[in-house]
């Protein structure tokens, strides 16, 4: 207890304020809404930044089939871009139909039922963690591509960035967005310039040449089936560029009005930019002959004791020259936008967590807004999970990509299927109404139905492809985690429902506890005990008894003498404890008391030390806390903790005693009540005599 209270100490509070800013009121939520130009960088950084690793991982898989195999890459890239367009169109329908920000979870819940919706939620939670991990791993990769000397600190850097992002996010969404807008726009701008420069140079007959263009690989000889599988695997990896498309649909409530139109526009802008960057980067990489291998040592000609530069770095070097200023701008912007992409998850995960908590699928603590109006617990949880994943996978991008996008496509697929149901229901419902009235509505629903049906077919197909090609490469872990999480959520839901039912008021619920006995536990005659006695007397219980648990007869005798000497106005009862336990004899005494005097509500008074340093709680016996825990299990007993503020507690206490009228600190207490004194309460010297006992 005493220890926990320490969170109020001045220093941590001050640090919290500096890091997180001042607290905000609930009403200020509305001021935090985003205009489109701010919403784009916040919600789109995930999808846009994916182009930093999507083309790289796609071409890397193609290279397994040998250099000649790379010529098939444009077709694979085209398939990815096509899928991206379909998914963006599909999500525009979701924004229209479900603008509350529930996204796939809400769509699934309303159209497919509880179990699919919980699976979607689990898949999304897993993918948020992986978004953070993959984005940061790729960001660190790009930093190392520019500054190879940092290679030994790969994991430390990654973990450091997670912590940084958590802190930034705990400050709240609005201030964060200003930080985020600039690098996202710089990234888009500089990559577009790079693609343009590269293409122009090619047209002028001066095509850029990557440093790795001359490297060769030992191509495996592949059967026809293996080649198809390899193409599908490359397609799966390329699909990682689609992650984050759903972010906008989950963030609709954060947009300014007209929310739906603004969100749809932002989503379309994001989709176009992402498609452009993906296609452009892939083209430029192929033009400049970039070779990026799964295992750097497979590259004949490359000294694989060095880290392999990222595709982005190789293209930038080829286009602008290695070590040139534009190269560093591209790398810095890429790294920034990837770190900001991780940030998207810090918007989505806590929001989904709070929705789940509100609906009873997750611990209620996830629905507690912190001082700065953000769901702090969800952010901290996501940060911890990402750190664990990054450390376990040593921030290795290629290994992390294997786990990625399963979750995204599980929720894409279920969301699209849910939307198909939604539109069919809309059509059914308008069926019986006059056509003139519902013509526009029906036409719109039919268009949406077609789009979402196409989306459903394509995302389910991709999910199957991704599963087949990635399962044995690590994706099985995700297939294990999603159902486990989903079952946990269903269990939590059931638990809350049971408790709710258990504590709900029933018709038979009525007042009427009788009898009122206060038992003040007395160990030695010291101020904390005297204070507890005094409070018990002040509360004027029907009966007040002081109870001493004597480990040895001598202890009891000493106390008895002091009791008489000080003329304490409460009867003292001494019970023996041959087994040196404290709670049991008290329990026995209560039982005997009730046998004799009939039922009674018993209030046990326990003095409780409040200390200022954590180590003090090691030095004080935890007896009082243990007793409280044990006595609370006894029927009809409540525990009154009477705090005794040790001097050291001023460390935590000082902050709380803000200037209150008549509450100035009176220096070191010289009389009984350390606490009361400071509160300026008057005290009357009461002559020893029987207390007010009814």
């Amino acid at each position: 207890m005493a220890h926990d209270a320490r969170e109020n100490t001045d220093a941590p509070q001050l640090a919290k304020r500096i890091l997180l800013g001042d607290p905000l009121t609930t009403e200020q939520v509305n001021d935090q809404l985003l205009p489109k130009r701010m919403a784009l960088p916040i919600f789109a950084s995930d999808a846009l930044s994916s182009v930093a690793y999507g083309p790289q991982e796609m071409l890397m898989i193609m290279l397994i089939g040998g250099t000649a195999f790379l010529t098939l890459s444009p077709w694979v890239a085209a398939a990815v871009v096509l899928l991206l367009i379909v998914v963006v169109l599909s999500y525009r329908q979701i924004i229209k139909a479900y603008p509350s920000g529930g996204g796939d979870f809400e769509v699934t819940q309303k159209n497919l039922g509880e179990v699919p919706s919980v699976i979607v939620a689990a898949a999304l939670l897993v993918d948020y963690v992986l978004t953070v991990s993959v984005s940061i791993a790729s960001g660190v990769d790009n930093i190392i591509s520019a500054v190879p000397g940092l290679n030994p600190w790969r994991v430390e850097l990654a973990v450091g960035f997670v912590i940084l992002i958590v802190i930034v996010n705990l400050r709240g969404v609005r201030e964060a967005s200003t930080v985020f807008a600039i690098p996202t726009y710089v990234f888009i701008g500089s990559v577009v310039v790079m693609i343009g420069t590269g293409l122009v140079r090619m047209l002028l007959g001066d095509a850029p040449v990557a440093a790795s263009a001359a490297y060769t690989v030992q191509a495996e000889s592949l059967s026809q089936a293996a080649m198809v599988l390899l193409i599908l695997r490359a397609f799966s990896s390329g699909c990682s560029a689609l992650t984050g498309v759903e972010a906008v649909s989950n963030g609709v409530p954060a947009f300014r009005v007209p929310k739906i139109r603004n969100a749809k526009t932002t989503l379309a802008m994001m989709g176009s930019i992402a498609a452009l960057l993906f296609a452009g980067l892939t083209a430029l990489a192929l033009i400049s002959g970039v070779k990026y291998a799964e295992n750097a040592c497979d590259l004949v000609g490359f000294d694989c004791s060095n880290p392999q530069p990222s595709l982005m770095a190789q293209v930038a070097s080829a286009t602008f020259g290695a070590g040139s200023i534009p190269f560093f701008i591209i790398q810095a912007a890429t790294a920034c936008v990837l770190l900001l992409a991780a940030n998207t998850a810090f918007n989505g995960f806590p929001l989904l967590g709070s929705v789940l908590a509100r609906e009873g699928y997750a611990p209620k603590a996830l629905n507690t807004r912190g001082d700065r109006l953000v769901f702090s617990n969800g952010m901290i949880l996501l940060g911890l999970a990402a750190v664990v994943v990054l450390v376990v996978f040593q921030a290795n991008l290629t290994n992390l990509i294997q786990l990625y996008i399963i979750g995204v496509f599980v929720s894409f697929s279920l969301g699209q299927i849910g939307m198909v149901r939604h539109w069919r229901r809309v059509l059914r419902e308008t069926h019986h109404r006059p056509l003139s009235e519902v013509a526009t509505e029906r036409r719109s629903a039919i268009v949406s139905l077609s789009i979402n049906s196409l989306g459903a077919v394509m995302t389910v197909s991709v999910l199957i492809i991704v599963t087949i090609t990635k399962f044995t490469h690590g994706a099985w872990m995700v297939f294990f985690a999603i159902p486990v999480l989903a079952l946990l959520m269903l269990g939590v839901k059931r638990y809350y429902r049971d408790v709710e039912k258990e504590i709900a008021i029933e018709d038979t619920t009525h007042f009427g506890s009788r009898g009122d006995v206060a038992i003040v536990l007395v160990n030695r005659m010291q101020k904390p005990v005297i204070k507890a006695l005094d409070y018990a007397i002040a509360a004027r219980h029907e009966k007040t008894i002081a109870l001493h648990v004597a480990l040895t007869p001598e202890d009891g005798q000493v106390l008895q003498r002091q009791w008489q000497e000080y003329k304490i106005p409460v009867p003292l009862v001494i019970v023996d404890s041959p087994y040196r336990t404290f709670a049991q004899p008290v329990e026995q005494y209560i039982r005997k008391y009730r046998e004799k005097h009939g039922p009674a509500v018993v209030t046990v008074y326990l003095p409780q030390y409040i200390v200022g340093h954590w180590w003090e709680s090691v030095l004080h016996n935890r007896r009082s806390r243990r007793m409280a825990n044990q006595l609370m299990l006894v029927h009809g007993v409540s525990i009154t903790l009477v705090p005794w503020l040790l001097d050291s507690s001023e460390l935590i206490y000082g902050r709380r005693s803000r200037p209150l009228p008549g509450q100035e600190r009176a220096g070191r207490p010289f009389a009984l009540y350390g606490g009361d004194q400071r509160s300026g309460e008057r005290r009357v010297h009461r002559p020893a005599g029987p207390p007010d006992q009814g």
Copy 2:
């Protein structure tokens, strides 16, 4: 809170009983006293078992000087035996003068003052940890010498033995002693037989020859000074045979009467046996030509991919034949007695810890006797420390020996110096009384003074030698640990003294808190809140107020409606919390209340869930606990926790509801009071109306 209470669950309790036996009453302490034949194995196993590593480590150092250097070994061994005799004689004086079991700590405290006594205590605590570590490392060594296949599990074996010994000791000293007597006597007997056999074989001209007799070492060419230093180092290592001599003097209170005579006899027996075994084993090792090297690979002729057999194992093999039955008996007895030696520390450390706790130098928890009358916390602490040391040093005996005996000789030296002072004071005090009266007393004191003076000179000299020869080999860690521990103890003492002074009753201490307001915190209208309300009403405070902290205005309105609907007989006050905090608005309300109505003791009623599974506490908001912590810092406030036992709490609760008259469980609660119901209390349906408010 709820979580902690779980320690009462049936299963853990049952396991505790099976492992530790039934609880004992305080009076049963007297039945636990030891006869001499039991005291010897318990207190002497440390000193006796040292011969398993003392000669080995001594000869190992001599071997650094080359094979020829070994011829000097008998002289070094003789010096060790001489020192042993002097130390034993010195400790007999301590037993005589200070039979309370305080040992060197008490002697130093009474004769040299606080700081030296705390240094002795710190030194002893460090050495207890090392006794456990060294004994177990050596025990595991001897097991591996017999069963080399266990070599890869050296550390795991060592840690396993520590855990085993902790469990055995938590059962209490008496039952432990029966387990210990047999192997100690088997060890003494079998080693004596081995020494006898070896000597007889030598006299018959058939001297045993060790397997390592043929090995040679690359002797370093040493300067004269280096040779002296090497001899001193060998002597230092040989002195490890002296550890544990003090155990008897610390254990006097555990002896049967006449305690002093019995303890002195036991100490003399122990000393004689130890000297005999040390001398005999060293002689036999030299006769059979055992070579034991610091680094096994220095032995020319030995395949150092195997573990080096211990000296004991080599001597036993040479005398009885490798793999013979007597060989295995010797190894088993050696290993057992070493593990039992570790046990000595589990008697000494917790006892010293409890003495320190009683005097305020250590946390009070070390003076809490457990169910089985042993100081459980001290045992667990020692076990943990030993595990850490064994893991850090990978259970390597030679490295551990470097740290050992510093502590022992620090306490030996200060204890002897203290005794010199003690006898000089005795002589001074008897000086002015008639000679006829004090002649015997003075003569005895003069003898004792001479013995302890010799002891002081010798132990201080050895301490200097040990420090010089071992400091750079790791002993510096001990020289760092001892002052740190000593300073910690002095700090703890000062802390307790300050607190004691702070909470002591003063003349100005008086009763007389006034005003009595109960504030029942209401979140939602559920049974736990209703129960808290009902208890507050039953306690008949001067004024009872229900307080709701509203995060949104809607919450408050809903509650207000229900309040009227249910006709709750307590006024409801709703306060807003724009910053979503809970404690601050309550604090403000209390302040305003006092400004209006004058000073008052405020009792805040908080419902508290009691749950049966640890994971349930994750699912419940910790809000109530956080509020309790924060409100306890407010002046004049006490906290009443009204427990609500969720159904799952029966897991912990079941055990406590032992057959009480009229307390049968009434199945699932159907009305208001889950807890009360089961206690068979009557409840009266009280019509809605104003509560008894004075």
